[in-house]
Amino acid sequence: MAITDNNFFYPVEWLGQESIEIARSAARWADSELIEKRLTLSENFDHQMHCLKILAKDIGLHGLILPEEIGGSGLEPSQAASTLVRVYEEVGRADPCIGFLSAINMALAVFVMENKDATEELKKEMASYLVGPGAVDLVSYVPPGLGDNEKRRGILMGREAQAELVKHDQSWSLEGEKARPMNSGYDARMYAVFSSASDGFFLAFVPSTTQGITRGDIIKTTGLLASRNTDIDFAHVTIPQTHVVPIDEVGYMEVSIWMDLLLAAIAIGSAIDVFRLVRDWADNRIIKGKGLLKENPMDAAVLAQVAMDIVNSRPKVHNLARAVTRPESFGIQDTRGLFILAESIFLDTMDRCLHSINRAMEMMGSAGYSKEWNVEKHWRDLKTMQVYMGGRTPMEMDAARYFYGSIEV
């Protein structure tokens, strides 16, 4: 607790007392439910889902930004950005995967709750997943991304839709083969499928039990293991009109901004935990048979880099939260500007946090590589999170479009 609050600087004044209390609750949850139980329960799926439920529903994270009339706390999402960053730092400190599952669902919830085209029915259904009784019902995002050479669909900002919608009189039908969700494809209660249609792009919200949906086997992955994923086939899946929401470039950017922000916060928390682990490991370690490792200038330089990467990144992520809350104070005039800021800070934060963790692993040698110390889990989880946002090049193309007016990229 003391580490995240005091040792790595961020603009505390942007958080009110209530936000600090929420973050403290998250920190207590992180320590007691996860960090203290790592040796026996790390990457135990049932335990991770249990902890997610406590965080999301008992502590109430998922209800924070929902309107009060549908069971939430009624915080305006953009006004809660700094609070959420602070909370997701704590979640990332404990387990980036739980943070990832929560963050993707929160980003989708913000999109639905703030979208004028989203129906009340859809909002209530989404809210029931986030704050209803029982376990957390996960929504799985099927984003646009890499296309397939043999099957072409609509392209938005260079990214190809993985499914196609066809409009009928009272409903839509969805088609897609081997669509790859970003999260929880195997366990999802609902899919949010970015789809192309003859007249634009839509986010189709499909309950996973809908006829025509076939899930594959769980795909083994590098990290984020509790986000059990699989490829999904959508064959003549009928979707009511209430569950199809138009999405354009701006809408896609809005979803991405929240994901960039929350995942970057998780990465900061993760790197802070690795900092603590390597600090503890190095604290009384003797080298050359006489001196403390941390007193050796070369080792001290590596340890310094572990910390300095966090020092450099954390304020940027809090700045991004502030820009979400007050874009005008950053000179940001539209969603596109905020999107580019979010992508840039996401990429840089992931790079720096991964660099920090890599340096910590180098310092710890084999101990950093063994599951016992949990450093390698942070390393795997963050790398997975980084590539799950689609990779570096599509983001660089976004920046080229924004700053240079590149059209063909």
Partner: protein, 420 residues
């Protein structure tokens, strides 16, 4: 893919290279690659990995390679191409599985002390060769070096000269009595059949004469192997704790004796840096995978490989492989041509080997990161194997003293540093 794999070209002009590579490639493609996605869950018992090793080590006979011909081996230890040929083998095995390549390489490692010219210990070769010859099961060797405190201090031989070694060996009549605790040797966790144990005959001494390298069969009373560690990757190589409690072996199980053990142990360290091949082999496989993936998948409607920004990244990846490979085989040549470059145990060769391994491990990991990012959501899939290679080759940066010791050995030689 309709282009020939450019990395399939021999790096030397030796017919033996084609022959050896073909044997191992056949084993890798038919035995290992079809099942390697299940290896992560096999880290503890090697139910799948064990039989694959049996084919390589016992059935194909590679466990005999270093042993002199007069004891039934392939006599590689007396070859002028020992290091280069080792690199071929390591690279080919690592293309399929870096963990298995490490385990394979370490099978040879203690034998560098006694089966490599010009310092062959015929009595010990004759003693241990039958373990490897007269069997149809894979036989594993290990170098027990790292200890709980001090990490890479033991490998920091030119500064500490064995000062921090806690594992002791004292003579009792005609037997060594060994006591100590080792961590992380490859091929342990219950797998090792024979240890080369780095110990001291005079704790705290900084005299090379007091450093000893003693062979200990794993079934000697007093030897205990702990359970294997669970790691981020490298399931093909088991690591664990090893305890030696009043372990008694004949006095002539010491590799060479005072002074010479420390001298030739430097050669063990130098040749250990051929582990650079364990990073290059996986990257050659990553290249093969990318050829397929980047032809099938598109960005902005164009096949990935035809997207200029992605093509730039792909170019960086193969540049990394080619340059790393050139560095590796250049080092192998220098280590083989001791007539030109001097003995492998010299500080010069240790430094050159350390910096090569450090460069290759860093560059390959960087390029594997690039590959994962190109693949986006699929980069973290075990289905495509790139993430497996990424997890595996991270270890290449960490073992054998890691990056920091490599930097110190390099600076020490090139800048004449005295206190690092």
């Amino acid at each position: 893919m309709d282009i020939q794999n450019p990395f399939d070209m021999n790096v030397t002009s030796s017919p033996a290279e084609t022959y050896i590579r073909r044997i191992i490639r056949n084993w890798a493609d038919n035995v290992v690659i079809p099942q390697r996605r299940q290896y992560d869950e096999d880290w503890e018992e090697h139910r799948l990995i064990g039989p694959a090793f049996k084919v390589l080590l016992a059935d194909l006979g590679f466990q005999k390679a270093l042993v002199p011909a007069k004891y039934g081996g392939w006599n590689m230890g007396e070859s002028d191409y020992l290091v280069t040929a080792s690199a071929w083998m390591f690279e080919e095995i690592a293309r399929a599985d870096a963990g298995m390549a490490v385990a394979f390489g370490v099978c040879y490692w203690p034998f560098v002390m006694i089966a490599v010219k010009p310092h062959i210990n015929h009595r010990l070769c004759a003693e241990f060769a039958p373990m490897y010859m007269n069997t149809d099961r894979p036989v594993f060797s290990a170098v027990a070096m790292t200890e709980p405190q001090g990490g890479s201090d033991i490998e920091n031989i030119d500064l500490l000269h064995g000062k921090t070694i806690k594992t002791t060996a004292f003579l009792d009549k005609d037997e060594w009595v060994i006591n100590g605790h080792k961590l992380w040797p490859s091929n342990t966790g219950g797998e090792a059949d024979l240890f080369g144990v780095v110990c001291t005959t005079n704790p705290g001494s900084t005299r090379d004469e007091d450093m000893a390298f003693i062979f200990v069969p794993a079934n000697t009373p007093g030897v205990t192997q702990g359970k294997p560690y669970e790691k981020a990757g490298m399931a093909g190589d088991m690591n664990g704790d090893v305890w030696f409690e009043d372990v008694r072996v004949p006095s002539w199980y010491r590799a060479h004796g005072p002074g010479l053990d420390a001298l030739y142990f430097r050669e063990v360290l130098t040749l250990g840096m051929m582990s650079a091949a364990f990073s290059i082999g996986p990257m050659i496989n990553v290249y093969e995978i990318l050829c397929d993936f980047c032809s099938r998948k598109t960005l902005n409607g164009r096949p990935l490989k035809e997207h200029d920004a992605i093509a730039a990244e792909l170019a960086e990846i193969v540049t990394g492989i080619e340059v790393s490979r050139s560095a590796l085989y250049r080092l192998a040549y220098m280590l083989d041509r001791t007539d030109i470059y001097g003995p492998r145990w010299s500080p010069a060769m240790l430094a050159k080997a350390r910096l090569t391994k450090m460069f290759v491990a860093d560059r390959c990991l960087e390029d594997c990161n690039r590959a994962m990012e190109i693949m986006g959501t699929y980069g973290a899939d075990r289905t495509w194997d790139v993430e497996k290679h990424w997890r595996d080759i991270k270890m290449g940066q960490l073992y054998e003293g890691g990056k920091q010791l490599a930097q110190m050995d390099t600076a020490r030689y090139y800048f004449g540093c005295k206190t690092l």
